[in-house]
C-alpha cells in the first residue's frame, strides 16, 4: 500500500510542531499506524526521509514502544490489564476467558480481523479494576461475562460506549488522535467515573474542605 500525499503532508505537519523535527517521530508513527494498520517498512522509510535520519534509527524507535505493531491490528484492540492488581481482581480470568472465547492467543487477531487481543500493563485505572482497554478507551470494572459481551458487541458492529469516554471508534481512528489530529469527541463521556469521585463525595458529606485561602 502506498502512503498518499495527504498523509505525507500530515507527517511533515507533525514534525513541524516541534523545535526539532525528530521530536515528531512518535506521533508520526501513530499516524503511520492510522493509515497502514501497523508500522510498515514503507512508513519507516518515509519517516526517516522526512526527518533526515536513517531507517535503522526509525526502526529502533518503532520496535521500542509497545503501541507500535508490526502485524496488522484488528478494528478493535482489546487490552486486558493483567498487571498484579487487575490480575488479582480478575484480569487473569478475563484474559483467559477472552482467549478461549475469541480463540486467539496473546497479541493475535481474530480471523474476521475485528479483534486483536493483548494483555496490557497497568493502565492507570486501578481503582476501576479489573480494567479492559478497547482502542485505549477505558472499560472499567469488567468481569469475564461483561468482557465477553463487550467483544461480541464489537464483532457484531454494535455501538459500544466507553465507561469513561465516547463511543468506541476504530483502532486506526484512535491512532490518528494520538498523532495529534483530534476527532471532536473530547466532550463525550463523563468528567469522572464513580471511583474518581468517592473521596470528593465523602468530603462533601462531611463538610471537609481545604483551608480557606490566606492571601498573605
Amino acid at each position: 500500500m502506498a502512503i498518499d500525499d495527504k498523509t505525507k503532508s500530515e507527517l511533515r505537519e507533525i514534525a513541524a510542531r516541534y523545535p526539532e523535527a525528530r521530536s515528531g517521530l512518535l506521533p508520526m508513527l501513530h499516524l503511520v499506524q492510522s493509515v497502514e494498520g501497523r508500522v510498515t517498512s514503507e512508513g519507516i522509510e518515509l519517516c526517516a526521509e522526512i526527518l533526515g535520519i536513517t531507517a535503522a534509527e526509525v526502526s529502533g524507535v518503532a520496535t521500542f514502544y509497545t503501541m507500535y505493531k508490526r502485524r496488522p491490528v484488528g478494528d478493535y484492540h482489546v487490552g486486558v490489564c493483567t498487571n498484579t492488581l487487575c490480575a488479582v481482581m480478575g484480569g487473569d480470568a478475563i484474559f483467559e476467558r477472552l482467549k478461549g472465547h475469541l480463540d486467539v492467543g496473546n497479541d493475535e487477531t481474530t480471523e474476521d480481523g475485528k479483534i486483536t487481543l493483548e494483555h496490557v500493563e497497568c493502565n492507570a485505572a486501578c481503582d476501576y479494576a479489573p480494567v479492559v482497554m478497547v482502542n485505549w478507551e477505558f472499560m472499567d470494572n469488567q468481569t469475564p461475562e461483561s468482557a465477553t459481551q463487550l467483544v461480541d458487541d464489537l464483532r457484531a458492529g454494535k455501538e459500544v460506549q466507553s465507561t469513561r469516554g465516547p463511543k468506541i471508534c476504530t483502532w486506526r481512528e484512535a491512532e490518528r488522535v494520538l498523532a495529534g489530529f483530534p476527532d471532536g469527541r473530547a466532550d463525550d463521556g463523563p468528567a469522572a467515573g464513580p471511583a474518581s469521585l468517592v473521596g470528593l463525595e465523602i468530603a462533601r458529606e462531611q463538610g471537609w474542605t481545604a483551608p480557606e485561602a490566606n492571601n498573605a
Binding site: 517498512s41 519507516i44 522509510e45 531507517a55 535503522a56 534509527e57 526502526s59 529502533g60 520496535t63 521500542f64
Partner: protein, 789 residues
C-alpha cells in the same frame, strides 16, 4: 633525508586532580574518568561498553567500584560505574582489588552477562582474544548459579555482505552502534526491540554499508560481530601479529597484520593517536587478498626469440634488462604511486645514474606541469615537525577547506578525523566540490558548489585566514590554475594524494623536476650536491619529461626504453596512448606484483615483493614518515630497489644499496636539500566551455581497483555506480542515462544531486575499465541522454 616524527603541539597546561585509588595517590587531568585514572595506578577495572574514543554510556555496569568519598567527604551509598564517573579532588576509590563490595558488584554483573551468553567459546572466532572470556576468568565466578532457560536467536544474520551478527553472543554494550553514529556517521545499525530482547539491528533493505564497518568487528568485546572474510578461518592463538602501515591511501594508517604459516589471515587497525587513532577503512582492513591472486608473478621472465615470455633466472633477467636498456638508447621511468619511499628512491636514482635522465614521473594519472611546479615549491620537504598540517591540526583548525578531495572515498582517516573535529564543535568544513556528497553531509560541511575547472576562482573567493587549513586533492592537477590559487590563498596548505606512495615519490624525486630530498633539477648546486652524494660526476641538467610527455615521446620514437613499475594504464591520462607507448617502446622492463597488460607487453618482467614481504616506508599526506618491517621473510620476493640495483650492476654501476636498510641509510645520508626551494610558476585559470556536460569524477573507496581483488564480501559493500545529475537534468533524461564522451559511451542508473546544471558526476573506476579508458579524457565534456531516448 625526509623527516622526523614528532608533534608540533606545545605542552598544554592542564589542571590536575589528585585522587586515591586502592590506597595509591595519583594526579590526573581534570575530567579524567575513574576507570582511566585507575589504569594510571596499574589497576585494570573490567569493562565492556567503555571505549576511550567513544562517549561514555555506562551501559554494561561491569566497571563498578566503591567510592567511599566522592571528594566532598561523603561517599556514594552504592557502587558507581567508573567509566562515567569523573575524578574529583580528594576522591577515594576502592576497586575490586581492595573492595569486597566492588568485587562482588563486578562478579554480579559478570554473572548476569553470562546467564544469556552461549557457551560456544570453543567455536567462536573471538575465543582466545575475547574480553568477555578473559574478564569472566579474572572477575567472574567459576560456576554459574543460573539453571534457567537461555535467550536464543537464530544464529548469525548478515547485517551487511561483510559483517555478520550473532545476537546470542551480543551483550548490547552498544560499542558498534556508538561507533556507527558517533565516529563513522553511518547509523545504519541501531539498537532495536527492548529489554531482554534488545538487539542490534538494521532496517529492512538497509544493510550496514559503511566504509568503516570493519571497526565494529574489532571493537566488539564478544564474538557477536564477525566478518564473512575471516569467520571460522583461524584461532587468535595460532596467529602471529605484525604491526604495519596500510598501503591503500596516503593516510599511513597503522595496522596490525595477523598471519599464520606465511599467509595473511586478517588485518586490524593499529592504535596510533597521531594518525588513524584506532580506526581504519574497510579497504585497509579487507583488501589484502590482491597479493595472493593466481596471477601473482613469482619468477622473472624474459621475452624469448619466439616472442613469448619465458621464465628466467634472476641473473639472466638482470643481464637481459641491462643489455636491452643499454641498446634502447634514451629511456624513461614510470612508477605508479604505490611504491615505498625506498623503492621510489631507487627508481629516482636509477633514472638519473643508470639511465642518465630526468624522464621519470610517479604520476600515473592525469597530471599537469603546474602540479609538478606546485609539488616542488609547496609540498616537498614539508613535515609536521616543521609546522606542516597534520592530522591533529585538522582538529584544532577553525575551518578546513577541501578542494578536489572527497576524504570519505580518498583518505578515510582524514574523513574520520574531520568528523571528530566537527562533532566536537571545534572545526567547520567547507568543500569546493560539484555537489554535497554523503561524506560532506556527515561532516555538516558547507558546499561551495563548483563545476570542474572553476576551482581556482572558488579558492580565490574564499575568506581565508591563518587558522584555515586548505586540503587540496591530487585531482586539482586537471583544473588549470587551481593549485596556483591554492598556493596563493594564504591558508595553511596540504596536498592530499590518493596513493600510499605518492608523497614518498615526491620526496625521493620521482618527478622530472625534482631530485631526492627536494633538490630542484634546475638548481645546479642541488644537482652537484646530489651527484656528490652519489659519487657520480654529474647529473642530467635539463628538466625531464612528465608521464604524459614520456608516453608521447615513446609513441613518437623519441624515447626507446622504458622502466615501468606499478602502473595501470587505465589510471593514466590516456590509457590507449599509454598502451601504445608500451607497444612502441623498443625495450620495456616491467616490475610488477601481478600479471598485467604492462607485463604481458614487456621484454623483461621482474616480480616484486608485496608490502608484506619487505620493509619500507610510506610518507603520509602530512609528510610524516611511516616505516614498517616485513611481515614475512620470503627470499624469492625482492623489493623493487633490489631489482634496480641488480640491473644497475649489470650496467657496471652500483646504486650503493641492495637492501631496504642500505637504501634508507643512503637516503638519510643524502638528507633534505637545504638550499632554496623551487619557486612556483603560477598558471592562470582557463575555463573550459563547450557543448555537453563537464565531468566530475573520482574513485570511490570501494571500486574496481586491482588492489581490492579477492574479497567478494568486501566488494559487495561498495556503492553501486550511478551517474549524478542536477535535478532538472535528471528530470529531463530519467532514471537511466547514457553518457557519451570522446573515449566511449556508458549507460548507468542516474540519481539527482545538487549539482550545477552542466555537470555530471560519475565514479572513476566502478564500471568497465573506468572513465579515462571508456568515457572521456580529462577535462573533456560528455553528452547525456536517457537510456531509452
Amino acid at each position: 633525508m625526509t623527516v622526523t616524527t614528532g608533534s608540533t603541539d606545545g605542552v598544554e597546561k592542564v589542571d590536575l586532580v589528585t585522587v586515591t585509588i586502592d590506597g595509591i595517590q595519583v594526579s590526573v587531568p581534570k575530567d579524567t574518568l575513574v576507570i582511566r585514572a585507575a589504569e594510571q595506578v596499574g589497576v585494570q577495572i573490567p569493562r565492556f561498553c567503555d571505549h576511550p574514543l567513544l562517549a561514555p554510556v555506562g551501559a554494561c555496569r561491569q566497571c563498578l567500584v566503591d567510592v567511599p568519598d566522592a571528594g566532598n567527604g561523603r561517599g556514594f551509598p552504592k557502587p558507581q560505574a567508573s567509566c562515567t564517573l569523573p575524578v574529583a579532588e580528594g576522591m577515594v576509590v576502592h576497586t575490586q582489588a581492595t573492595s569486597p563490595v566492588a568485587d562482588k558488584a563486578q562478579q554480579g554483573i559478570m554473572e548476569f552477562l553470562l546467564i544469556n551468553h552461549p557457551l560456544d567459546c570453543p567455536v567462536c572466532d573471538k575465543g582466545g582474544e575475547c574480553p568477555l572470556q578473559n574478564q569472566a576468568m579474572s572477575n567472574g565466578r567459576g560456576e554459574t548459579r543460573f539453571e534457567g532457560v537461555k535467550r536464543t536467536f537464530p544464529k548469525p544474520i548478515n547485517i551487511s555482505p561483510q559483517v555478520l551478527l550473532d545476537r546470542e553472543r551480543c551483550i548490547v554494550c552498544q560499542r558498534c552502534t556508538r561507533f556507527a553514529s558517533e565516529i563513522a556517521g553511518d547509523p545504519f545499525i541501531e539498537l532495536v526491540e527492548r529489554g531482554a530482547q534488545q538487539q542490534i539491528g538494521i532496517a529492512e533493505n538497509a544493510p550496514f554499508l559503511s566504509y568503516f564497518s570493519g571497526n565494529v568487528i574489532q571493537i566488539c568485546p564478544v564474538g557477536a560481530l564477525t566478518s564473512a572474510e575471516y569467520r571460522f578461518r583461524s584461532r587468535p592463538f595460532d596467529l602471529v601479529s605484525s604491526p604495519s602501515i596500510a598501503e591503500h591511501d596516503s593516510c599511513g594508517s597503522a595496522i596490525r597484520v595477523d598471519h599464520r604459516r606465511g599467509k595473511v589471515m586478517r588485518r586490524l587497525s593499529g592504535n596510533d593517536p597521531e594518525v588513524n587513532e584506532e580506526w581504519i577503512t574497510d579497504k585497509d582492513r579487507f583488501a589484502f587478498h590482491y597479493a595472493n591472486q593466481p596471477d601473482r608473478l613469482t619468477y622473472p621472465q624474459v621475452r624469448d626469440e619466439d616472442g613469448s615470455l619465458r621464465p628466467a633466472s634472476w641473473p639472466e633477467a638482470f643481464a637481459v634488462a641491462a643489455r636491452g636498456l643499454r641498446a634502447a638508447g634514451s629511456s624513461a621511468v614510470l612508477t605508479g604511486g604505490r611504491l615505498t619511499a625506498e623503492d621510489a628512491y631507487a627508481y629516482s636514482k636509477f633514472a638519473r645514474v643508470a639511465l642518465g635522465t630526468n624522464d621519470i614521473d610517479f604520476r600515473s594519472r592525469p597530471l599537469s606541469a603546474e602540479e609538478a611546479s606546485f609539488l616542488a615549491s609547496e609540498v616537498v620537504l614539508r613535515t609536521p615537525s616543521q609546522g606542516a598540517v597534520s592530522f591533529s591540526d585538522l582538529e584544532s583548525a577553525k575551518t578546513v577547506v577541501l578542494v578536489g578531495l572527497e576524504p570519505e572515498d580518498e583518505a578515510g582517516a582524514i574523513f574520520l578525523r574531520l568528523r571528530k573535529a566537527v562533532t566536537a564543535g571545534t572545526t567547520r568544513v567547507v568543500s569546493i566540490a560539484p555537489y554535497a556528497t554523503r561524506g560532506l553531509t556527515k561532516l555538516a560541511g558547507e558546499l561551495v558548489r563548483t563545476a570542474p575547472g572553476e576551482e581556482a576562482a572558488a579558492i580565490a573567493a574564499l575568506d581565508v585566514d591563518a587558522d584555515t587549513v586548505l586540503l587540496v586533492g591530487e585531482r586539482l592537477a586537471t583544473s588549470p590554475g587551481a593549485l596556483s590559487a591554492a598556493a596563493e590563498s594564504g591558508a595553511r596548505l596540504a596536498w592530499v594524494p590518493r596513493r600510499a606512495g605518492d608523497r614518498g615519490a615526491v620526496e625521493t624525486g620521482c618527478l622530472p623536476n625534482l631530485l631526492p630530498g627536494g633538490r630542484p633539477v634546475s638548481d645546479a648546486a642541488a644537482r652537484v650536491d646530489a651527484a656528490t652524494t652519489w659519487g657520480v660526476d654529474s647529473l642530467p641538467d635539463s628538466a625531464g619529461r612528465d608521464a604524459d610527455q614520456i608516453v608521447a615521446a615513446l609513441v613518437a620514437g623519441e624515447l626507446g626504453g622504458l622502466v615501468i613499475g606499478g602502473v595501470d594504464p587505465d589510471d593514466t591520462s590516456d590509457p590507449a596512448a599509454t598502451r601504445a607507448a608500451i607497444e612502441a617502446a623498443s625495450f620495456v622492463v616491467a616490475l610488477e606484483l601481478r600479471e598485467t597488460d604492462v607485463t604481458r607487453a614487456a621484454d623483461v618482467v621482474f616480480p616484486v615483493a608485496p608490502v608484506t614481504d619487505k620493509a619500507g616506508m610510506f610518507v603520509t599526506w602530512e609528510g610524516r614518515p611511516r616505516t614498517f618491517d616485513a611481515v614475512f621473510s620470503n627470499p624469492n620476493s625482492l623489493p623493487d630497489l633490489r631489482i634496480l640495483a641488480g640491473i644497475a650492476e649489470e650496467l657496471d654501476l652500483s646504486l650503493g644499496f641492495r637492501t631496504v636498510a642500505e637504501a634508507r641509510a643512503q637516503m638519510e645520508e643524502m638528507g633534505p636539500w637545504d638550499g632554496a626551494r623551487a619557486a612556483h610558476s603560477p598558471v592562470p585559470t582557463s575555463s573550459t566551455t563547450g557543448d555537453g556536460l563537464a565531468v566530475s569524477t573520482w574513485k570511490l573507496l570501494v571500486d574496481n581497483g586491482s588492489m581490492q581483488d579477492g574479497d567478494k564480501a568486501y566488494l559487495a559493500t561498495g556503492r553501486a555506480p550511478v551517474a549524478r545529475l542536477s535535478r532538472s537534468a535528471y528530470d529531463a533524461v530519467g532514471p537511466t542515462v547514457t553518457l557519451t564522451g570522446d573515449r566511449g559511451s556508458v549507460t548507468l542508473p542516474a540519481e539527482p544531486a545538487d549539482l550545477a546544471d552542466g555537470v555530471v558526476w560519475v565514479p572513476a573506476n566502478s564500471f568497465g575499465r573506468g572513465v579515462l579508458a571508456d568515457l572521456a579524457s580529462p577535462g573533456s565534456r560528455v553528452t547525456v541522454k536517457g537510456a531509452n531516448q
